[in-house]
Symmetry: C2
Subunit: 242 residues, 2 copies
DNA sequence: AATTCTCTGTACGGCGCCGTACAGACCGCG
DNA sequence: CGCGGTCTGTACGGCGCCGTACAGAGAATT
């Protein structure tokens, strides 16, 4: 059970120079993030910036009708709350825990102060933000052009990259909410993947058996995001294709 | 013919304090942007940052298959090349002129230098970037959930906000490329709008006759982006609903 | 062990968009 | 003026996803 090995489990924090870390770490708060917890709601003024360690958080847009769509996903490679240092202090999306786990958090003002010292933190966070932008852009493309099957593959890979194990605790219903499709659509797609021997699942538990095949079944969108993230955040280089 | 009233036609530049403008303006280059010109290609290291005045530039992702999808659109409210100050120096998207016109541009290094002085320019540009992020996120949502009819309305409104007149020079084929749909789909949708008396078009010229109705036919996505842009970029407040 | 709830599987009609094909309309050009 | 090219309109079959409905299987509760 990986826990509390310290804030540097988060790759962004780990990438900061010691001097900056020493300023920030004393103020960091360790928090548990249960599945479904809402870190902030659309329009809320953000109070904290969160740095996931083994949790995964989705940025989700909820429509007037109640339907939803995932904009991007954040794990140990990133942070939740870019709007704070971008200057807007709030966003139109909701941040919701997609995979339970832990995180560290900092009060908004502390991050702002450090950001405006214009040092390493600014550069690091802005590069991360660009990676996040890439992910959003690719989500838009994928939503337009690719099948549910392909999108499920992409989504599984994105989640997998942010976890230690190859098992996801995730119901098809929740995946459907993320992808913005029907639950039955996910059932069909997942069933096909299972019959191909790529995954195995059972009431909220999904095991990825063949990652290589999953990648080959995915659309280009995953690779694009992955490659660009590796370029922008070289310290991350997720263990995935290691 | 609106031209060359100076860089402050661009709202971002206009929002900068005089001191910063005086540093930058001498280095600004006035350029013509013909329809279809590619300002940068996916993966290119950006050499300039562009500030449109009366032109419109689309950020477009081109897939391996050649199909494409617009990620966001930039006009006089913004700039092209956020990747430069975000630190990535390149993006996965292409920037292509969607509506011919003019712009000013600055060499990459000049913007970087000014950015790292950590003054007004940083704040302004980051806020704009957040607005751009909002637009991308909403594009993803819209691609998932809304009909071509609704998306066409949204797209027309986004373009309209960045122009002086209510006439767009734009073929249905080009719009289809932006939306990532078939040209025939755009023909159908445009035909319906025309029969409703909302627009009138003719071989590459589209006149918007009833903007209010266009807004009511659009999905919520336009309003969301618009409202958030007004919040983040208060100096912009496009004349649209004036 | 029985009940209840959650999660997954399956089915069916309908619709929106796709791919393809082709025709007519308008413009620019020689 | 006539020709070629661009832009727009229409048609048709097909497929993917939707909305809805319901059944069965596994887990949790008692």
């Amino acid at each position: 059970m990986p826990h509390l090995k310290g804030p540097q489990q988060n790759h962004l924090l780990a990438a900061l120079p010691a001097e900056v870390r020493e300023r920030l770490y004393p103020h960091m708060e360790f928090v548990e993030l249960p599945l479904g917890k809402v870190l902030y709601e659309s329009g809320d003024t953000l109070r904290y910036i969160y740095f996931p360690t083994n949790s995964i958080v989705s940025l989700l847009y909820v429509m007037e009708s109640g339907a939803s769509a995932e904009i991007s996903v954040v794990g140990k490679e990133g942070l939740i709350g870019v709007a704070l240092f971008m200057g807007g202090d709030s966003t139109t999306s909701r941040a919701i825990v997609q995979s339970a786990g832990q995180a560290y958090r900092l009060l908004a003002q502390r991050v702002k102060d450090e950001f405006h010292r214009h040092g390493a933190l600014l550069h690091t966070f802005l590069r991360y933000t660009q990676a996040l932008i890439t992910q959003m852009a690719q989500t838009a493309v994928c939503n337009r052009h690719h099948s549910i099957d392909q999108q499920l593959c992409r989504w599984l890979l994105l989640s997998l990259d942010r976890l230690e194990s190859n098992e996801l605790k995730m119901t098809q219903e929740l995946i459907a909410n993320m992808l913005g499709v029907r639950r039955e659509g996910v059932t069909d797609a997942a069933g096909r993947l299972q019959r191909l021997g790529v995954i195995e699942y059972h009431r909220g538990h999904i095991q990825v058996l063949n990652r290589a095949k999953l990648e080959s079944l995915s659309c280009e969108c995953y690779a694009v995001v992955r490659k660009e993230s590796d370029r922008l955040l070289p310290w991350t280089k997720s263990p995935a294709n290691a």
